[in-house]
């Protein structure tokens, strides 16, 4: 608990927790177990109050928590027999996207997701979860493999965006993402998309076209990050909170906008507070969704997938 990253809005909880710690030390001399119990009850109330009333920006912060379960965490805890497959067979392997064979509750699936690191070293290796074109092309290769052998695809979205680098442009970042959007609209196998952390823009949707689109309760999905939006529209980095509000980027927002199908509930305070509970809920929801989509006739599935996206957007005429 000591070195765990906490947020400003969690300070009242942390303060109370510290108080209890102090009282416990004191409690070795005199009996104050009742007071401690009261205070513990108060913490629970406070947690519910704080975590049920998070602002959009606060959720963005939770979505970025370094201890938040990432793609490989879900793969290792919710799937079995994972065989990671590397490389796009064109240029190189991109560690910012991982994928491969896995088994989910007795059935073979293809799982692909953005991969962030947990610390500086692993984040440098993973490029902070920002893929290069070869990452999207690796994903495309794995999608085609799944199609060939008729296995469902599960993609996990967690990226601050596609990498805006010089070489990424040279190798066709835009083309790589565009090609995936086209491919995922053509595949006949079921695709389930789950936003587990950050879903930033084209970099996220580049592996995000599917039959079911789900979001974890504290993840976000938008056309741009609140920081970049602030810098472009307000010409300053200081309006990220407002930008997050305006962008309406939470799971609750997207459900209302009919962009996603379902919200996966997180443990109180976020997935990092209780990863084991998170994996259980995740597995249960995924099992249910997989069962639903697997029942749909293959030809119809692709048609329904396209119609799902045709319905997206709000205009007047």
């Amino acid at each position: 608990m000591a070195n765990k990253l906490t947020f400003d809005f969690e300070k009242p909880i942390i303060d109370l927790e510290q108080k209890i710690e102090e009282m416990r030390v004191l409690g070795q001399q005199i009996d104050i177990s009742k007071e401690i119990k009261d205070l513990e009850g108060k913490i629970e109330e406070l947690k519910v109050e704080i975590y049920k009333n998070l602002t959009r920006w606060q959720r963005v912060q939770i979505a970025r928590h370094p201890d938040r379960p990432n793609t490989l965490d879900y793969i290792n805890n919710c799937f079995t027999d994972f065989v990671e497959l590397h490389g796009d067979r064109k240029f190189k392997d991109d560690p910012a996207i991982v994928g491969g064979f896995a088994n989910f509750e007795g059935k073979s699936v293809m799982v692909v997701g953005h991969q962030k690191g947990k610390d500086t070293k692993s984040n440098l290796y993973r490029n902070f979860g920002m893929p290069n074109p070869e990452g999207y092309r690796k994903a495309a290769r794995l999608f085609e493999l799944a199609e060939k052998f008729n296995k469902p695809i599960i993609t996990l979205l967690d990226t601050p965006g596609a990498f805006p680098g010089l070489e990424a442009e040279e190798r066709g970042q835009a083309e790589a993402i565009a090609a995936n959007l086209l491919l995922m609209n053509k595949l006949k196998v079921p695709i389930i998309v789950i936003v587990i952390g950050e879903g930033a823009s084209g970099g996220a949707i580049g592996i995000g076209v599917g039959d079911r689109i789900l979001m974890l309760e504290n993840s976000w999905y938008s056309v741009i990050s609140p920081e970049s939006c602030s810098s472009i529209l307000w010409r300053s980095w200081d309006f990220k909170e407002q930008a997050a509000e305006q962008l309406q980027l939470t799971a609750q927002d997207l459900l209302k906008l009919k962009v996603i199908d379902e919200i996966i509930e997180e443990p109180l305070g976020g997935a990092h507070q209780n990863p084991k509970q998170m994996y259980d809920v995740f597995s249960k929801v995924l099992a249910k969704e997989l069962q639903t989509v697997s029942k749909i006739n293959k030809e119809k599935l692709t048609k329904l997938r396209r119609e799902k996206f045709y319905a997206m957007g709000i205009w007047q005429e």
Binding site: A162, F163, P164, G165, L166, A168, E169, E170, R171, G172, Q173, A174, E175, I177, A178, A179, L181, L182, M184, N185, K186, S201, G202, I205, G206, G208, V209, Y221, S222, V223, I224, C229, I232, L233, W234, F239, Q242, A243, Q246, L247, Q248, L249, D253, L254, L257, V259, R305, R306, F309, Y310, M312, G313, I314, W315, Q316, E317
Partner: protein, 279 residues
């Protein structure tokens, strides 16, 4: 030493004028001064250095579509403000401004017309309307224009000019990337030709969806084409970008554009390409 230090950089005027007005106009590339009528006769390209001025759908329709054959479609669709988006201005006033500045109803105009006698479904983006940004309306109009192609089995021609997805519609704009790609998947499966023309500038979510998905990708000379904008890349890599980076010629060299066509030859070349599918 001055008494007051400047806290912000000087305002630098944008060198790229979108559409020249007044009697004379100066080429932003070579500074050649031209009569406006001469510029129009040259299809808005510089007579000296062939610089391609940014133009909108009205001009492209005149340049590419057979005279009198164009019929605009879906002109009743309008952007609304589904998120009640407010930054330094509210979204509805940006829509009004965009309309005033461009004279069109949104960042894309669609319709049907003929190119050297061959019917096509035609869509052209308007950079002057909120930076040619793609929101729900752009996505829906592309969907309908492409659907027309699919139903009538006529080629789909789309001219892109865009800064990317429209922030004011947030995730709804992002979803238009998937939506436009979905209908292009149908075109592809039905062997209906789709020709994408990329003009200055085409960036962001537009490049990363329909603009890059043509059976043929054509670019105008010198057009800026990329995913991330040059400023964002410079901030990321902390280096100046090399000259010509993300220009049409650079994309051709790296294999993402089939050909670069001068605006003056665009109609003939487009016609040649369309005929290939029929003969």
């Amino acid at each position: 030493m001055s008494w007051f230090l400047r806290s912000k950089a000087n305002i630098v005027e944008d060198t790229q004028k979108s559409m020249p007005d007044g009697l004379w106009t100066k080429c932003p590339s070579c500074s050649e001064v031209m009569y406006k009528t001469d510029l129009e006769d040259g299809l808005f390209t510089c007579k000296k250095c062939s610089y391609h001025f940014r133009i909108g759908s009205k001009e492209y329709i005149r340049i590419l579509i057979d005279e009198g054959s164009f019929r605009e479609t879906q002109d009743k669709i309008r952007s609304t403000d589904p998120l009640n988006f407010v930054d330094t201005k509210d979204y509805p006033s940006r829509i009004v401004e965009g309309h005033k500045k461009s004279g069109v109803n949104d960042a894309i105009t669609t319709g049907v017309g003929k190119i050297n006698g061959r019917e096509v479904s035609f869509a052209c983006m308007n950079f002057n309307f909120i930076g040619g940004s793609m929101g729900s309306v752009v996505g829906e109009k592309i969907y309908r224009a492409a659907k027309y192609s699919l139903d009538k089995k006529v080629p789909f021609i789309l001219i892109s000019a865009s800064g990317g997805a429209r922030m004011q519609e947030s995730v709804l704009s992002l979803m238009q990337m998937a939506k436009s790609s979905a209908i292009l998947a149908e075109l592809s499966e039905s062997s209906v030709p789709y020709i994408s023309i990329l003009t200055d500038p085409t960036t962001g979510g537009v490049t990363a969806s329909y603009a890059m998905l043509g059976d043929v990708n054509i670019a105008e000379p010198g057009a800026l084409i990329g995913f991330a904008g040059p400023r964002v890349i410079e901030q990321t890599i902390r280096k100046k970008l090399p000259a010509g980076f993300q220009r049409a010629e650079f994309l051709l060299e790296h294999g993402f554009i089939d050909l670069i066509v001068n605006r003056k030859e665009m109609k003939q070349q487009l016609s040649n390409i369309i005929e290939w599918f029929y003969n």
